[in-house]
Symmetry: C2
Subunit: 284 residues, 2 copies
Amino acid sequence: MKILKTARAVQNLIKKERCSGKTVGFVPTMGCLHEGHLSLIRRAKKENDNTVVSIFVNPKQFSPREDFSRYPRNKKHDEYLLQKEKVDIIFYPSAEEMYPHRYLTYVEVERLSSILCGQFRPGHFKGVATIVTKLFNIVMPDTAYFGQKDAQQAVIIAKMADDLNFPLKIKILPTVREADGLALSSRNRYLDPQQRRDAVVLFKALQQARRMIRAGARDAAGIKRTMATTIRKKPSVSSLDYIAIVDAKTLAPVRRIQKNKILIALAVRIKATRLIDNCIVTAP
Amino acid sequence: MKILKTARAVQNLIKKERCSGKTVGFVPTMGCLHEGHLSLIRRAKKENDNTVVSIFVNPKQFSPREDFSRYPRNKKHDEYLLQKEKVDIIFYPSAEEMYPHRYLTYVEVERLSSILCGQFRPGHFKGVATIVTKLFNIVMPDTAYFGQKDAQQAVIIAKMADDLNFPLKIKILPTVREADGLALSSRNRYLDPQQRRDAVVLFKALQQARRMIRAGARDAAGIKRTMATTIRKKPSVSSLDYIAIVDAKTLAPVRRIQKNKILIALAVRIKATRLIDNCIVTAP
């Protein structure tokens, strides 16, 4: 396993691999790896000759009031996990390597970036689109793997890759969950035991919505009201950023649930910890 | 010579070429080719196994009041010239191919895009950065060639390629001029004979500035005043958008000319036709 710290070193190595006909799978992460990341890495390993994992806590996707400085970092354990998965290359750049003095260039997927989480995290998806563009140019993968847990990010990156003609495939893999349904997230470690118990309400509310739709509910507003009531009952819930029922591909709001795939997504603050979750549903 | 109309067709062909170790040189154009373009193409031919020329009048880099619809197009003659130069691939996409319905993604080099020409052409360099990103992802060149005539564009694209880690080299080649000094431009054909004679004043003013600096002038404001007087004397000059004396790399304004490379750039309207020109000077 090679650990590389510069973009140039990765590009030189990957160019060689691709010239000899080898495929490259890529999993970009912010480190503090959990089974969600590992499921992406295992798929990348299975489908490619080389697997590259980047670890970079991207300052540009955090707003000044957010948790950039306290975002969990666990380099030694991450390396241990990646070694165990037989990852070929870890790209581990510094902030200075990615954003040198006088950095000026940004990528933005308009409209999709200002709704849902974008309303509560201004600049977040611009930071995501920018770093992912840079990483795609550095790693030059055949396929890049992202988790469905970050549903809006997945839609934005797929749209960006398509709009900007990136010569690669994007694969979105299912959310990995704890036994009780809580979606894995590096931020779960911020939760104390009571908060951890209450946090499962995101999943519960999604399950509730799914059951309602299966039972014939078609009015999105009514479903969202029921979900909100469930969520607000939990004492650790400090605020409900949003519950959205939208078209799974365009993220356009859905009022009446029809036959197309819909995304039910929500963001909830469990005291100071902001958690997100979602599910994709097709009405029967 | 292959003429390809889809991004996918170009990517498939280039992937094959690159896999067999062949290099790719790329010259993006808006067509209506002149000796300026041909100088780039000849250099690309000399330095690469394959040369790709794109022809696409990019609607996103024209503002609604600009000359997009009347911008000169000359497909047959362009093809004739490219055939003569033994270009390998022409990429000739439709607007629909490049910006399909629901296109949403843009690239912007902040700060550098809002000064000089950017002040007079809002959105222009965002359109340029976006189309060049798309073309880089489609053509995947080893080296891309641009003309110094579009000095600000050259700085912005070099900065973008660097910031976004594009795995390629940018080369900027000298402006090609008519015998009397007028910089070649597809827009020169808008000029009537009187306007054509007056248009040489852009070059004359730049020469004047160069002579002043050689003779010891160091105050940028004084040099700009002298240039403006020269330009405004010509009856066809309807307005002087700007004269700028800036650092050649950062485009930061220069008040007192020092030892670093400076760019003297100007944009002048000859009746309805907006022309630009520039030169790079180092004080002796």
